[in-house]
Symmetry: C2
């Protein structure tokens, strides 16, 4: 996957990424056979590894050079991310992710629940040995944010959220993890407080840009490129920014389009009509513009960092996030 | 609940237990409202608090007197325990625990999944600040053991386990946590290595005695006293030691009784016939004897500790565990 993106921003941290991939594949060793199989399944295609790349690049902005602790942070946060995906897929009844079957689809919900618990436990065990309590606290805060975001999602009032409520949800569910990667790594490397803050702001804005782009791709993406079923958010009645904008443009909240978007059960006919209607609205394009605004904020944060190859790579990663097709 | 047991072994650590109860009720503060409500629900009747009592009593066997770190360990392990119960109740489709509705019954499986994740995260955040890495490792190892045990349970071959396989499962799922309480607290208190080992052995054997007693009560207990539905293990086709012994006595494995015990769906008539048959066998009594053997091993471990009030209290706790009706 990483190679398939053809992106050059991985290059400065290629060694760390390879070591991380090796460690991720090894996470199940010594554990229950079903957990080992699930780990092998999950990390066969380890995805884009944007978060670990952010960890490794950010760690280059301080004098600290302890490769081992930075690897531990990257592995810990990638496991937090994977664990939360495994649990989210149970809640969302998702069957496909990154073009492979979800754990709940391949095994069942019960196995996915425990596999997620296991991954969280591995993540925390790695975080617990990090040499800085404030970084351990960042990992814990990130998990709380993920849980808050997920609880908000599953217990939220039925209805179209405001733009602000949507942005708050994706900040909890996505951007907090990106921020933790950048900020945690900078702290571990003893970067200057200004640079830690700049990297934190970069991570938050990158995460926001990433998620909005993901939500646009869910509506307009090509299924094969995207690696997930297109229209999943819509099928589940999970409103995203392009839908919010589409309703705003068409006929306002409380409207017929809103009701159809939020409907929990949709026929194939409903789905294609809705997808066509949203695609022909200005919703996806306005959402892309919003993603680009976060991208630009991320790039501006980079101005507060010293010019070096790693800063260029972060800039390229930000460009990649809003340009990608999957 | 604690008061209702009328047990005197709580007395030496009453102050710590009250402080712990206060902290447990406060775990949800600042978090998502649904999590706050779930925490209030879970800790309204905080149960027997055997595990924290074990932490506080064990911490008295070393010169260390840092009350705060011992409270953190107790809270962390109680949250690990509660989180794993919340997730187990999802897997087991349980509706009642400690005479109150489970989180999955009161809300739903999705909420229970995230509430459990939240509790685990709180547990780890507390563990992470403990001053001894080996104690942090004990907490992590305990979660791995719980996950291994649960995975073994949900993916195990259908069929009656051997006595050894049953004992291995309850060691992972129950005794590991008791051992962590006793051993972790002794380590935090800088107890002598001999005393740490003795307390670890006490915890393991106490946990084994507790779980076997619980499994006997599930078959012979009074529903109102027991606070859970009686016969739940049987209803789910989850074989426990009294059933293993009953089959052994009656007609051996592969028999008709084994098939009826393992059947996943049982009518009310099947249930009462099976309960009567198992109760009239020597199964429950033989299992009680096995629990008593673990109790005796726990008590023998106490001989390796200095004589003091806390040792007497641990002895009383062990007696309580095998004598209790719930």
């Amino acid at each position: 996957m990483r190679a398939a993106t053809g992106a050059s921003f991985y290059a400065p941290v290629d060694g760390e990424l390879r070591e991380l991939e090796r460690r991720l594949r090894d996470v199940g060793s010594g554990a229950h056979p079903v957990f080992r199989e699930a780990v092998a399944h999950l990390f066969t295609t380890p995805g884009k590894l944007l978060r670990p790349t952010l960890v490794f690049l950010s760690s280059r902005f301080g004098p600290g050079r302890d490769r081992e602790v930075v690897l531990n942070l990257a592995e810990s946060l990638e496991l937090v991310h994977t664990a939360s995906l495994v649990h989210d897929d149970v809640v969302d009844r998702a069957e496909l992710r990154r073009n492979i079957q979800t754990v709940n689809a391949k095994w069942n919900d019960d196995v996915a629940l425990i596999v997620g618990d296991y991954l969280f436990a591995k993540a925390y065990a790695l975080a617990a040995v990090l040499p800085k309590p404030e970084v351990i606290a960042i990992v814990a805060q990130t998990v709380f944010a993920l849980c808050d975001g997920e609880l908000g999602e599953i217990t939220g009032a039925r209805g179209l959220p405001t733009e602000d409520a949507y942005l708050e949800r994706i900040e909890l569910k996505t951007a907090s993890l990106y921020a933790a990667c950048a900020q945690g790594a900078a702290l571990l490397a003893d970067a200057e407080p200004d640079h830690v803050a700049a990297l934190g702001a970069f991570g938050t804005n990158l995460g926001m840009a990433f998620q909005i782009t993901d939500d646009v791709l869910d509506l307009v993406g090509d299924e094969e490129d995207f690696g997930k079923m297109v229209g999943r958010d819509l099928l589940e009645g999970m409103p995203t920014l392009p839908m919010i904008y589409a309703v705003e443009e068409r006929d306002g909240t409380g409207s017929e389009l809103e009701t159809r978007i939020l409907a929990p059960a949709k026929s194939a006919g409903d789905m294609s009509a809705l997808l066509a209607e949203i695609r022909s609205s200005s919703g996806p394009e306005r959402a892309r513009q919003r993603a680009l605004a976060f991208h630009d904020a991320a790039v501006r944060a980079l101005d507060r960092l010293p010019a070096r190859a790693e800063r260029d790579a972060l800039r390229e990663a930000a460009d990649f996030v809003v340009r990608r097709v999957r």
